[in-house]
């Protein structure tokens, strides 16, 4: 007889779960590592960062999870997402069902055209990277800035430090600029949302 306990199970509240998803090569795994390092910088929280990817270096689905908790993290992967970043339509379609009802959805609104809800933040990360930051490769860092601004899960300063700590030599300025663009755009959307636009 199934159904004896499943109805009584409550998803644990002491976890904050983020998933960064896109296509292989978009830097989702690296972005999740930077985010984990930034959130963990003060050493007070428990963090599990993990990923799932295919054997390809480019293309294929790529997703990375960051689970944050003040207590012991039992299951290392995300169960119900508090935040989903989807850089492609495919990744949104795959992971949207795992987003909590009141979870935060952030999408690249150039590459993602069909969003099953009105309650989301859309930014053209890839276009911003190419046109404003100077290289398509930093789209992931712009997305990190936006996540920082929208969630407040890390301070601006800590996130910039974490990005720069991972930036290859010679790319510091480009990366710094990318975080700032993300913060600016994320803060703008947040303000618009608060104003009810």
């Amino acid at each position: 007889m199934a159904g004896k306990i499943l109805d009584k199970i409550e998803i644990p509240q002491d976890r904050f779960e983020l998933r960064l998803s896109g296509s292989g090569g978009q830097g989702m795994i690296l972005a999740s590592v930077i985010l984990g390092e930034a959130i963990g910088a003060d050493g007070t929280k428990n963090i599990t960062q993990s990923q799932s990817y295919g054997p390809e270096a480019r293309g294929g689905a790529s997703k990375a999870d960051v689970v944050v908790s003040s207590g012991e993290i039992f299951y290392p992967k995300a169960m119900k997402l508090d935040l989903l970043l989807a850089m492609t339509q495919e990744s949104l379609d795959s992971y949207y069902p795992f987003l909590k009802e009141n979870g935060t959805l952030i999408v690249d609104d150039v590459l993602v055209t069909e969003v099953p809800t009105d309650n989301y933040y859309g930014l053209p990360f890839t276009r911003l990277a190419r046109e404003e930051a100077g290289h398509v490769m930093v789209a992931n860092v712009i997305a990190l800035g936006a996540i920082g601004a929208i969630t407040g899960i890390v301070t601006h300063e800590t996130l910039v430090e974490a990005v720069l700590a991972r930036a290859p030599r010679g790319t510091e300025e480009k990366n710094r600029k990318a975080v700032e663009i993300g913060y600016r755009e994320g803060a703008r959307l947040l303000k618009e949302k608060a104003a009810g636009k």
């Binding site: 306990i5 590592v33 050493g43 929280k45 599990t48 039992f74 299951y75 169960m79």
Partner: protein
């Protein structure tokens, strides 16, 4: 007291730090997903402390090199995944026979053959016990968190040195490729065991002497003690023998030096087993899902607990029987088509009903899947 620095660290890298803490100074390996970061970490860290890293031509060369380095006196390690482990098992047998302590990390991925490089698995559980031919007793340990990657690698070295035997660290891809907050222990915080060296003169040295505990003091090549090392069955001097009165004592020694002290090898974590009528039994990443499932199910009023094995081999027969004595049912969770369940079936009494949940599609067992299974067997 200052707060100890915690780092967000990859599981594979935590193995490297554990190995270095335990005294590893030689690593030979051949890169293979999902274990490559162990080799990368060793290449980076070992030269800083006077150790040696060699990338070998293949896995057969890698295991041969670490056996040699260990005979020369250095604590040695290699890391691989299933396809590489399969190539290594012949010389792992050589390490059993020559009683050479080495640590082999096997980050399990989907198989058989080259299988799925980036997908996790626990399908090498039995191979770690029975991989090489012949009679021997194996030791295998299994971490489930990144911090435990560090501590279990230390334990693997200690067991290898204590028993003069190869030890396998059975990782799975999810733990190896996760990053978690890790504290690097201070010197002295964990016991580090070094192999017993001979105290006699080189002339008196009996390299495979029958000692009361079965472990013979081990001289390093180049330390002045001359001895023969062979994979052929040998007498206490290390020379080939077919004499029945010497053969079975040698094989008894290989088994009993570990089995007589098997309680020392046991390590498990039990949660919510007080009054538990049902128990999950698992290791590695599955134990993380089981812990989560049990915490949720207990809140929903189900009398369920979890037993996590850190030592898979030798299988903790007596301890598992004791812990599960009050259970009516157990559920064995594995990322394979059913391997550890054979041991559980062998060990537990008939009045305990044994259920299993297995997953072998490259994905991991989730807490919800375990809860569904629990619901089904209630």
């Amino acid at each position: 007291m200052a707060i100890k620095k915690r780092h967000l660290m990859l599981g594979n890298l935590a193995c490297v730090h554990g190995a270095i803490y335990a005294g590893m100074r030689f690593f030979a390996g051949y890169p293979i997903t999902p274990s490559t970061e162990v080799a990368e970490g060793c290449a980076r860290e070992l030269p800083k402390i006077g150790g040696k890293f060699i990338q070998m031509e293949d896995e057969i060369g890698s295991i041969a090199a670490i056996v040699g380095a260990s005979v020369a006196g250095l604590k040695s390690m290699t890391a691989t995944s299933g396809p590489g482990y399969s190539l290594m098992v012949e010389n792992i047998g050589y390490a059993y026979m020559t009683e050479t302590p080495v640590v082999v990390i096997n980050v399990q991925r989907g198989g058989p053959s080259t299988g799925m490089p980036t997908k996790g698995s626990q399908a090498d559980t039995m191979q770690a016990r029975w991989g090489t031919h012949g009679d021997y007793t194996a030791i295998a340990v299994a971490p489930s968190t990144v911090q435990e990657c560090l501590t279990e690698t230390i334990r693997a070295f200690n067991l290898a040195e204590r028993f003069r035997t190869p030890v396998t660290v059975l990782l799975d891809e999810v733990i190896a490729h996760s990053r978690e907050m890790v504290t690097i222990p201070e010197k002295g915080e964990f016991k580090v065991y070094d192999r017993v060296k001979p105290t006699c003169t080189p002339e008196e040295y009996v390299p495979f002497e029958m000692t009361p505990n079965g472990v013979s003091p081990m001289a390093g090549f180049g330390e002045g003690y001359r001895f023969n090392v062979t994979g052929l069955t040998h007498d206490t001097m290390g020379f080939t023998t077919n004499r029945p009165e010497e053969v079975s004592p040698k094989l008894d020694k290989l088994a009993n030096k570990i089995l007589k002290y098997r309680d020392e090898t046991v390590k498990m974590r039990t949660e919510m087993m007080d009054g538990a009528e049902i128990a999950f039994i698992s290791y590695g990443s599955v134990s993380r899902a089981a812990l989560q499932a049990v915490m949720l199910a207990r809140k929903a009023g189900v009398k369920v607990g979890t037993v996590q094995l850190y030592t898979i081999w030798p299988f903790p027969e007596k301890q598992l029987r004791e812990i599960c004595a009050g259970c009516k049912k157990v559920i064995v969770g594995e990322l394979n088509m059913g391997q550890m369940i054979y041991e559980v079936e062998r060990v537990l009494p008939n009045n305990i009903k044994i259920h299993s949940i297995q997953r072998y599609d490259g994905e991991f067992l989730t807490p919800m899947q375990l809860l569904e299974k629990l619901d089904e067997v209630l």
